[in-house]
């Protein structure tokens, strides 16, 4: 079965500093990986995805993520945090093996609350 772990419930970072939000995954085959952001009382917004190709993926609002197959990780990063980045961040995975042999949905982690302090 596929699963996602976000080991930190909360990440605090000073404005202007680099930020990292961690994600590890478990799948039977190969993964499709996604990051989403949620602002208060809103639905989830897509940030970026890894399907294949370069391990470093660039997305919206200056965010990027690095796929590391050996460590089964897909950490979200940003070189310089903004106060407006404060939100809830979700990592999600879909198992490619499952996609071809059946239909599998996105499985989400529990979320990491990012707080950027001015």
């Amino acid at each position: 079965a596929q699963s996602v772990a976000q080991p930190e419930d909360q990440v605090n970072v000073a404005e202007g500093n680099p930020l990292t939000v961690k994600c590890t995954y478990s799948v039977s085959g190969n993964p499709y990986l996604f990051w989403y952001v949620q602002y208060p009382n809103r639905g989830l917004q897509f940030l970026l995805k890894y399907i294949t190709g370069d391990n470093l993926v660039k997305g919206s609002y200056g965010f990027e993520a690095e796929f590391n197959k050996s460590q089964t990780s897909f950490h979200l990063k940003k070189p310089s945090a903004l106060v407006s980045d404060s939100a809830l961040y979700f990592c999600a995975v879909r198992d490619i093996l499952g996609y071809f042999t059946g239909n599998t949905p996105l499985v989400f982690g529990k979320g990491t609350r990012l707080s950027v302090i001015a």
Binding site: Y32, L44, Q45, K49, I51, A92, I96, T104, P105, L106
Partner: protein, 112 residues
């Protein structure tokens, strides 16, 4: 832009009522999903559908059913609402396995 519309932002229902949550997407997506979001538990999948009239159980289907009679519409039904179904419900759709999912604004359901 893809639009996923959930019929209500806020709902208050009584215990034992039958509750319908409606979701409509406008981009001809094959896949549609219903999740519930609770603090500390993240998003948990209730049901998903990969085609009209097709449905698959997710991780927490008990107490729920779904209907997909048309491609653009995916309804979540609480057969007999209970207080432990008080939650934020999120609908999503995606074109394919490689595609990102697009989410509605969510319905905050309170069962009293």
């Amino acid at each position: 832009d893809v639009k996923v519309t959930q019929s209500s932002r806020y709902l208050v229902k009584r215990t034992g009522e039958k509750v319908f949550l409606e979701c409509v997407q406008d981009m001809d997506h094959e896949n549609m999903f219903w999740y519930r979001q609770d603090p500390g538990l993240g998003l948990r999948l209730i049901y998903f559908s990969y085609d009209v009239k097709m449905k698959e159980k997710g991780d927490i289907p008990e107490g729920y059913s779904v209907s997909r009679e048309k491609k653009e519409r995916f309804s979540l039904i609480l057969e007999s609402a209970s207080t432990n179904q008080t939650s934020m419900y999120l609908c999503a759709s995606s074109l394919s396995g490689q595609s990102e999912a697009f989410f509605g604004q969510g319905t905050r359901l309170t069962v009293v």
